[in-house]
């Protein structure tokens, strides 16, 4: 699988080390974990039910977690649903991703004041936000964060805003033991088993034996936390159950993208009748790019106050689905919806590999659920492949 190898190669973590031991803890200890993180100065952020969806927000205690909730997702559709049982992490990913904290939708880059016909930059405002702890990072989301790391931290330039937030973030990953209808992370090699990069990797188990969590450290910080929680070594039965559940989640996925040769497929089908068909459905609303955990594009907006003495520059999320995105004097380059959809999917599945050495899609399925027209990226790739003369070469 191309995706796996590409992603694995960039981390460079040694695989020859002694396997990290897995521990078990209960709900009370999860509560303690939250308290412990708060004590250490972290804002704990995680899934919570708001506005009819599981979104990410401050978690003060386990009461804030979506206990008793799951969801139903399909192209263009998302509904919360009650479920029986104690599980806190039985939901599929909602409309938001962690990029709202690491690569915020709006950030003030700097302010300036006018001074003798010129200006003075006033950027040195202290960044006094507390470090963040993410509770409930899914495998696909962790993969997305690492993809954004590659773009924003490991290329020619380093984004200091992302870098500072990222550096101070503690990540508790929670593996999926169930799968949503729009998920296809397994085919992308991005999940549902959690890969490298989290401080703690947790699997939630709820069965006759009770409600418990298996946890393995992914960093020194994670190890210290587990020690303080006084978690006990996990039983081999639990380890097997957890592994089976994650494997079952992978098998249960009904959607997939065949990543073999996908770059070539996209590059070779710049002209394809499918683009017209998808463009006829696409509203260019940009939802897919807003919900996408890897989409990183931004614009800058300069503004000044009414007196013209203070100016600010803000960076905001932008989308390749807007006409203005490709505007150069005289007009936009990509005026048609066809060209914009093609740019988006070609970037995700082809150009990204050339640019950053990984795919730009993790298979989270958000773009499928949150597309008001129900456009399904997996279906589009399949249609291209089936209608292509070159796709299987």
């Amino acid at each position: 699988m191309v995706a796996t190898s590409l992603l694995a190669s960039h981390e460079g973590t040694s695989s020859t080390a002694v396997p990290e031991p897995t521990y078990a803890f209960d709900v009370t200890q999860l509560e303690q974990l939250i308290e412990l993180l708060q004590r250490d100065g972290y804002s704990v952020l995680g899934p919570t039910v708001r506005d009819g969806a599981v979104v990410y927000g401050p978690i003060h205690s386990i009461e804030d977690l979506p206990k008793g909730w799951t969801d139903e997702q399909s192209p263009g559709k998302y509904r919360l649903k009650r479920h029986e049982g104690e599980a806190l992490f039985a939901y599929g990913v909602g409309p938001q991703s962690w990029k709202k904290y690491l690569h915020p939708a709006e950030v003030r880059l700097w302010a300036a004041e006018r001074k003798n016909g010129s200006f003075r930059i006033l950027n040195n405002e202290p960044h006094d936000e507390r470090p963040q702890a993410f509770l409930g990072v899914r495998a696909c989301e962790l993969a997305a964060i690492r993809i954004q790391d590659r773009v924003l931290l490991e290329d020619r330039y380093r984004d200091p805003i992302y870098g500072e937030r990222r550096r101070r973030t503690f990540m508790v990953a929670v593996q999926c033991t169930g799968t949503g209808a729009v998920c296809f992370c397994a085919s992308m090699g991005m999940g549902p088993a959690v890969g490298e990069g989290a401080d703690l990797i947790v699997t939630e188990l709820v069965d006759a034996a009770g409600h418990r969590f298996l946890a393995r450290a992914g960093s020194e910080r994670g190890r210290a936390v587990l020690e303080e929680l006084k978690a006990t070594p996990a039983s081999s039965a639990d380890l097997n159950t957890a592994q089976a559940a994650v494997e079952q989640a992978a098998r249960a996925q009904t959607r997939s993208i065949d990543v073999e040769g996908v770059k070539k497929l996209l590059y070779q089908n710049f002209e394809h009748s499918r683009w017209e068909q998808v463009a006829a459905r696409c509203l260019s609303c940009a939802n897919c790019t807003m919900v996408c955990p890897t989409c990183f594009c931004t614009t800058v907006e300069d503004s000044s106050d009414a007196s013209g003495t203070c100016a600010e520059r803000w960076r905001r999320w932008d989308s390749c689905f807007t006409q203005s995105f490709s505007y150069i004097h005289g007009g936009s380059i990509r005026t048609s919806a066809k060209a914009r959809y093609r740019q988006w999917i070609t970037h995700k599945l082809a150009a990204w590999i050339d640019q950053f050495g990984t795919l730009g899609c993790v298979g989270c399925g958000r773009c499928i659920t949150w597309c008001p027209a129900g456009i399904d990226i997996t279906e589009e790739v399949r249609a291209l492949r089936e209608g292509s003369n070159h796709g299987n070469s």
Binding site: V107, L109, G117, I121, D159, D318
Partner: protein, 280 residues
């Protein structure tokens, strides 16, 4: 923990306008010098800066000055919108924010010892002028210099006096054409590709550097190939929407390339199949 929200190269440096000169009815050349507290910077021919006007906005603008002059940065700006208009109407002494320089620049190392063919269309001569300065400043390091320049009409020609002066330099050929000539115009009329037949070229020992509207560059590259230049000796400077110049904003993507950090100058070989794609 107190940390700066943003550091270089996201921050504009304050420069002051030293001189604004009118090149054509809509195009101006600005000379900027670093304000007290700003660091001056050198540049490679072909690089660009992000120029910011207080409260108006920021734009990528190619550096058009002499790379040997370290105390100033020179830009030639065509007023085509709000931000460019704000730039060209700066008064002497007013401030302009400068970020950069960014981008890779022209392949002057690869051009050493070889003939340099400069093909420019319209405002495209601006990012190529530093190449001409560089070659003339280090005459022994390069072979012949051939400048082929096309503009819309005689009044749209940039750097007219310099074009005439360059033409008098040894081992230098300067050919100029316009698409629309009036009765008083005694030079060539026709698109820039029509100049190739008058150019004295040694295709196998030349490097061509091309900048202008994309349509013009497509035709020029074909003409250069017809003349016998290999694709790997032809370089083009590209333009796309650009917000950050750092590879973060995503706007300047052109197929697999980011114009800001992989370009703006690319070997033709890399762009050939992309240039043929509409709405890429």
């Amino acid at each position: 923990m107190a940390t700066a929200l943003a550091i270089d190269p996201m921050l504009s440096q304050s420069y002051l306008v030293r001189e604004v000169s009118k090149e054509t009815p809509d195009t101006f050349t600005l000379r900027l010098a670093p304000d007290a507290g700003s660091n001056g910077s050198g540049f490679q021919p072909g690089q660009f800066s992000m120029l910011w006007v207080f409260g108006v906005g920021e734009l990528p603008i190619s550096i058009s000055g002499d790379p040997a002059e370290h105390d100033q940065l020179v830009y030639t700006v065509r007023s085509v919108g709000q931000a460019t208009n704000a730039l060209v109407t700066r008064a002497v002494g007013e401030g302009v924010g400068v970020r950069g320089p960014f981008g890779n620049g022209w392949p002057l190392q690869a051009a050493r010892g070889r003939d340099v063919i400069v093909v420019a269309g319209g405002i495209g001569l601006a990012p190529l002028r530093p190449v001409i300065y560089e070659v003339l400043n280090h005459r022994e390091d390069y072979g012949r210099l051939v400048v082929l320049y096309g503009a819309r009409s005689p009044r749209d020609l940039l750097y007219r006096k310099e074009l005439a002066a360059w033409a008098r330099q040894r081992e230098t050929q300067v050919l100029v054409t316009v698409d629309y000539g009036g009765m008083s115009w005694r030079g060539h009329v026709g698109v820039v590709t029509t100049l190739f037949k008058y150019a004295r070229l040694k295709p196998t020992r030349s490097v061509a550097m091309v900048c202008g509207p994309e349509i013009m560059m497509r035709f020029v590259t074909r003409e250069l190939e017809n003349c016998g230049l290999s694709r790997s000796d032809i370089y083009l400077s590209m333009e796309r929407n650009m917000k950050c110049a750092l590879g973060f904003c995503g706007h300047c993507q052109y197929g697999p390339h980011f114009i800001c950090k992989d370009g703006p100058v690319f070997p033709y070989e890399q762009l050939r199949t992309l240039l043929e794609k509409y709405e890429l």
